[in-house]
């Protein structure tokens, strides 16, 4: 039978607050490791995005980023989430893997805020309600940030790109909600969650 217990951010030590969350060495290193896992996973996703739209409208990369940042924030709280979200663009910039990597500093960061908001509203991180709300908020925030990037940086006519934004959002919301929920369940069953 499903456990009726409420799970709050940070799952790895629920006795501390969601902000700043875990700032001990283990929390920081674990968040860093998740960030590196995200870089590894993005290798697969970015190839597909580059093939279809040159990385201008990332879909699979976005789903992987939403999933890993959401998972990390749920596990380690705000600071851990920001470590996961910010190390990836820094290393991507350093290794020259994507020309728009510096912009991810902002788009990844907003996903941490989305998870903190959804966690505070639902008060139960390992639930469909939370993961769906997180996916919706993250998608909304990121689209709102991508519009200025496309307008000011790439001089693209954003009104003509609405079908692309819609497609990205339509894919990223259900995929993120399912992946985050699945990973949180796996992490819970593996014993990485504590009071």
């Amino acid at each position: 039978m499903e456990d009726k217990k409420k799970y709050t951010i940070p799952l790895s030590k629920m006795s501390v607050k969601a902000w700043p969350g875990r700032t001990d060495t283990q929390g920081l290193v674990s968040a860093l490791m998740l960030s590196l896992a995200m870089i590894g996973m993005l290798q697969f996703g970015e190839r597909l995005d580059t093939l279809f739209f040159g990385g201008l409208f990332p879909v699979s990369g976005r789903v992987i980023a939403f999933t890993m940042v959401g998972l990390g924030t749920a596990l380690f709280g705000g600071v851990g989430g920001f470590i996961i979200s910010e190390i990836n663009p820094l290393i991507a910039t350093a290794t020259g893997t994507s020309p728009i990597a510096p912009f991810w500093l902002i788009t990844n960061g907003i996903q941490v805020i989305a998870m903190l908001i959804s966690g505070a509203i639902t008060k139960d991180v390992i639930s469909w309600k939370n993961t769906i709300l997180y996916a919706i908020l993250a998608s909304l925030f990121v689209v709102l940030l991508y519009i200025p990037l496309h307008v000011f940086y790439f001089k693209l006519p954003w009104s003509k790109l609405i079908p692309m934004y819609s497609f990205q959002t339509a894919v990223s919301i259900p995929a993120t909600a399912i992946f985050v929920r699945g990973l949180l369940s796996a992490v819970r069953k593996s014993g990485f969650i504590s009071e």
Partner: protein, 263 residues
């Protein structure tokens, strides 16, 4: 790449690399501001010459710039195509598809190429920064700037452990292959969906490994004392101040030029 970057930056000393990391960062910031403030071809040409000169002086292989071009090529292609089709000024060709006329704009082509140059000129200095500045020097500079050491050190730690994580992915991938789950045989679209069975063991094994690493770091006194000593020394020379102020004034000058004078 990360491994190479880390090893190279630890070993090499160079003319530009001897500047204070924050001075180099201010130059990079200045270049970014200038690139954003204009789409002028001559300004971009000047910046390109400046960046190539830095690469030559610092003995960074010019093929790194060539690699950068390869990375941005797909993005630039799509940007240019969208501009050609989306802009309506100066059409040079029109074709009717399913009763709808699609025009190709020469203005869009020109704009697309300029934006491609912008993308390149933004990506190059940022990459150069990390090639020139040693991660340890950057950590020290960030720590001096007031960022707690435990956060400032994370980037260096990330670069150090990235090869290990990539190896872990290969190991898990091989383990899954031995069970008949071969994602390398899948097409691009299916591959993205099929990475989920790789994700769970990867995340769990890395979280377990993080416990051991954190314990080892704590045992060696990581973050044990508020004020720590450093092996790496950073000298702030008078020329560093000159570089920072010149970057600031040049960037502001370009912004003013772009707003008030540029046609």
């Amino acid at each position: 790449m990360a491994n190479l970057l880390y090893t190279l930056s630890l070993q090499r000393r160079s003319f530009v690399g001897d500047f204070h990391p924050l001075s180099i960062l201010s130059v990079v910031g200045g270049v970014v501001v200038i690139v954003f403030s204009t789409l002028n071809t001559w300004v971009y040409f000047g910046l390109l010459v400046f960046l190539l000169a830095v690469m030559v002086v610092d003995r960074i292989p010019l093929k790194q710039a060539g690699k950068m071009v390869l990375v941005i090529l797909p993005l630039c292609f799509f940007i240019t195509m969208i501009q050609i089709l989306a802009q309506s000024r100066d059409p040079f060709y029109a074709v009717e598809i399913l009763g709808k006329t699609i025009t190709f704009s020469s203005y869009g082509l020109e704009l697309g190429l300029r934006i491609s140059a912008r993308v390149f000129l933004l990506a190059l200095p940022l990459s150069l920064f990390f090639m020139i500045v040693s991660p340890m020097r950057l950590t020290r500079a960030l720590s001096d700037a007031g960022i707690p050491f435990k956060y400032a050190y994370l980037f260096t730690l990330g670069l150090r452990f990235l090869p290990l994580v990539l190896d872990e992915i290969t190991t898990i991938n091989n383990a899954q292959k031995s069970r008949g789950y071969d994602i390398d045989q899948s097409n691009f679209v299916v591959k993205v969906i099929k990475i989920i069975p790789l994700m769970i063991p990867l995340i769990l094994s890395l979280l377990k490994r993080a416990e051991t690493i954190a314990l080892a770091m704590d045992l060696q006194g990581f973050n044990a004392y508020e004020k720590r000593t450093f092996y790496v020394q950073l000298d702030e020379r008078p020329i560093d101040r000159i570089v920072r102020w010149s970057s600031l004034f040049t960037a502001l000058g370009f912004v003013a030029w772009a707003i008030f004078i540029q046609p």
